[in-house]
Symmetry: C2
Subunit: 185 residues, 2 copies
């Protein structure tokens, strides 16, 4: 046993999410969160760059999965097909937990600052995908265009999935949007 209760990060994360749901993101102060986690506000900012970041710790793994999928996609795949591999990998990760996704999404949609953070994470994902495509030999502007379109598809598909019934598969919705985009463009 350490000097303090272990897993301060875990307690902070849990406390934050609880409070964001209970009182709303704006009303939940860092002091509240820290207090509930049995810790000082200063400690909160040691683990999370800011109040929003609590909800985005998963984005690192997501980005890794996406990049890996791009690397492992068959050499013969077109850029858009390679992007599909990335979207599929992302869907598999996120699609596991419809409940969590829905709750998290509700918190985010209720607050503009959180939407901003969500968007910049997706922009970073797009940038990573574009880089992954460039590694595959795709030139600009093709790499960026394909990656950005991929993220566009992701956004729409995720939005539909998260608003729909829990038993629907994200991968399925993603594929439908992916194909539909192809038909529309």
């Amino acid at each position: 046993m350490g000097r303090w209760e272990p897993d301060a990060v875990g307690r902070l994360r849990a406390a934050a999410v609880d409070l964001y749901v209970e009182k709303g993101f704006d009303q939940a102060t860092v002091t509240d969160i820290a207090e509930r986690a049995g810790v000082t506000p200063r400690t909160f900012f040691r683990y999370f760059a800011d109040k929003r970041e609590v909800l985005f710790s998963g984005s690192v793994d997501l980005q890794k999965a996406v990049v890996t999928a791009l690397e492992e996609a068959p050499e013969t795949a077109t850029p858009y097909e390679a992007v599909w591999a990335a979207l599929e990998a992302a869907s598999t990760m996120i699609g596991q937990n419809h409940d969590w996704s829905r709750m998290r999404n509700e918190i985010i949609m209720a607050n503009a600052e959180l939407q901003e953070r969500e968007l910049i994470k997706l922009a970073a994902l797009a940038a990573a995908m574009a880089e992954g495509l460039r590694v595959r030999g795709v030139k600009e502007p093709d790499a960026s265009l394909t990656a950005e379109v991929g993220i566009a598809v992701f956004r729409v598909a995720f939005g539909r999935w998260v608003a729909g019934p829990a038993n629907r598969k994200l991968t399925r919705t993603m594929r439908q949007c992916f194909d539909r985009a192809r038909a529309l463009i």
Copy 2:
């Protein structure tokens, strides 16, 4: 003559942009800006919701132009073609002033918070475009997909144009990316 110098908003905007360039967005405090504009910090927040918003006052007009273009696009146009009309209108507005766009873009790219704001404005633009398409009778998810892809094209094209030489036409770059997306997807 009023009790104070006229056009406080204009002075605030100018002072803010100047200082963002001179010292960087983070280092420029609202107190600085207000002081240079000969006004109280409180007044700054009467005109701008926050420190970032100064750089985004044009987005209202942009959105109007886009929506109008969608309304006026020929009935026979496919969704993607209607989106082109919107992108063209946006390009015509923004493409006028390469210097201003480049400076503004440099300020924004140097700061994550500003990029977040830029992204949410673009997301709002996408939402407005999707709504415009729905008005045209396009169903979901087609409306959202087409609109989001349109914004993806816009992002890439704008990025290329703003980084390129001043005499290049935004509309041209936009069209190239628009067509290239069609080829890639």
